[in-house]
């Protein structure tokens, strides 16, 4: 058992909340695979940071942000579907990242290591995650309208392209800060799984977004606690816990539907 670090828990909670909240929109926009692919782009960024001796988080953030801008630009200007862009560009990023990352650091880059997080990184994560949540809350209404119909959103005064770009920047930020908790391979799951779990419960919008954020906290903090108890890497445990929450929510919702059908019969 490793000594429990409050910095690790605070970082996990902030990342879990931010990723869950941002992810609630990503699932509704059917961009689950984009989140996953963007997370892979963080790897060459981390590698460049490690090779050149600056903070790998900054490298990851710069690469993910560039990928997000490219996605937005190609989608809007070439009218190419997002999944096609991912197929062309992002798998390449993973391959290049694996080739560039020094071998001793590869495992940590791929699966994260939240146990090593210090005070400064924790504070930076909390500030960034709070900013992401606040800005996401500001654009939530516009994003929902854009999901159901971009023209409808435009008629209500929403600047659809701008809001979409802002959202991609938020996703990039949350992916970059999430890398330290679950690593580049699994950070996509931290964004998607809590939201997918919340969606199975079939609630309305506000409880859905709140539950998504809380599920994110539960899986990130729970996975980190288990990693300290069992002395293993937190990333995979966070993801497994998220999927356990997903299955539990699904079962709970199915039981609720069965009960409702019985009452009607």
């Amino acid at each position: 058992m490793i000594a429990l670090s409050p910095y690790s828990l605070a970082t996990a909670a902030a990342v879990g909340f931010g990723a869950g909240y941002v992810g609630s929109l990503m699932v509704l926009r059917r961009m689950a695979l984009v989140g996953d692919a963007l997370s892979h782009v963080a790897l060459p960024g981390l590698a460049v940071g490690l090779l050149l001796g600056f903070d790998p988080f900054l490298g990851a953030f710069a690469f993910v942000l560039t990928a997000a801008f490219l996605t937005w630009f190609i989608e809007r200007s070439a009218h190419l579907a997002v999944d096609a862009i991912i197929g062309v560009l992002f798998v390449l990023a993973l391959a290049v990242g694996v080739l560039l990352t020094p071998n001793p650091d590869l495992l940590e880059a791929l699966f994260g290591n939240v146990s090593q997080v210090g005070l400064l990184a924790t504070l930076a994560t909390i500030v960034l995650a709070t900013g992401v949540v606040l800005v996401t809350r500001l654009i939530y209404r516009s994003m929902i309208l854009s999901v159901i119909s971009e023209d409808l959103a435009a008629s209500a005064g929403v600047r659809v392209e701008l809001v979409s770009l802002v959202y991609l920047v938020l996703v990039s930020t949350v992916v970059a800060v999430g890398v330290q908790v679950v690593g580049t391979l699994l950070v996509g799951a931290l964004v998607i799984v809590p939201a997918a779990a919340a969606k199975t419960l079939g609630t309305n919008l506000t409880p859905y977004a709140t539950l998504s954020a809380l599920f994110g906290v539960a899986s990130a903090v729970g996975g980190t606690l288990l990693s300290f108890a069992w002395g293993v890497t937190a990333g995979p445990l966070v993801v497994v816990l998220g999927v356990v929450l997903f299955v539990a929510s699904w079962g709970f919702a199915a039981a609720g539907r069965r009960r409702a059908r019985k009452e009607l019969a």
Partner: protein, 256 residues
């Protein structure tokens, strides 16, 4: 949306005299479209389209598939690049009802959908389109196509717009729901006095609900009253793709 400033009566003016003077003038158009062209690569989708929409009427836009009807609505919503001029008469609020929603599999109740636009009297809004307020608590994914269209009409009217744009509001609903939707459109117009721009494929809709009509096939092929269009079987046949012998007999007396 901005546009030409509206002339307001000066203080101390004889209002009855002014009203008589105004009645004798042709009505001020709420929308003036001048020379609008839209291109997508080598294709010209709208070619120097010009027309005016008088205030308070139902103005139908008809034409074959690919004729540019939905593109014209996107121009009016300022969603695509175009050349030419689109002028609204003063600052106008525009409500828009799309053909269908891109995605309804989201945890969004009708009440939440309406609240995304503004706070208002949702129950009154829904009653105008023939829906009970119990629908407010339902999520949009559980509604029928007809119910969604009527909720969208309610959504478009909740902030009392001056102009309502409808993009083929009945194209994705069953025949039984068509009349309910069109009655909802009509009652909204009567209650709010809004100008309605109705893109349609449907001759029945045109005959029963529109006052003036624009036939669009990349260019403006015809603009005039519905009666003028319907009195020309060849043009009706060309516009709606119906053989001349199969055009239903229209009597203006049957208009609702």
């Amino acid at each position: 949306m901005g546009g030409r400033p509206v002339e307001r009566p000066q203080e101390g003016t004889n209002l009855n005299g002014l009203r008589r003077k105004l009645m004798s003038l042709p009505s001020v158009p709420v929308l003036t479209v001048t020379d609008v062209t839209v291109r997508a690569g080598p294709l010209t989708i709208l070619d120097h389209v010009s027309f005016r929409v008088p205030r308070g009427i139902t103005f139908a836009i008809v034409g074959p598939n690919g004729g540019g009807k939905s593109t014209l609505l996107k121009v009016l919503l300022d969603r695509i690049a175009y050349t030419g001029r689109v002028e609204w008469d003063g600052p106008v609020r525009v409500g828009y009802v799309p053909q269908k929603l891109v995605d309804t599999d989201i945890p969004l109740s009708v009440e939440e959908l309406l609240s995304l636009k503004c706070r208002g009297d949702y129950a009154a809004c829904l009653s105008m389109v023939g829906l009970d307020q119990r629908i407010l608590k339902k999520t949009i994914g559980t509604l029928s196509g007809g119910e969604i269209q009527r909720v969208l009409i309610g959504w478009a009217t909740v902030d009392r717009p001056d102009v309502l744009l409808f993009d083929e509001p009945t194209s994705n609903v069953d025949i039984g729901s068509e009349d309910a939707i069109l009655q909802a459109v009509k009652s909204v117009q009567v209650e709010t006095g809004a100008t309605v721009l109705l893109v349609t494929h449907n001759l029945h809709e045109l005959h029963h609900y529109a006052d003036r009509v624009l036939v669009l096939q990349r260019r403006v092929r015809f603009e005039g009253t519905v009666a003028e269009l319907l009195s020309n079987p060849d043009r009706v046949s060309e516009t709606f793709g119906i053989p001349p012998g199969e055009i239903p007999p229209f009597g203006i007396g049957s208009r609702r």
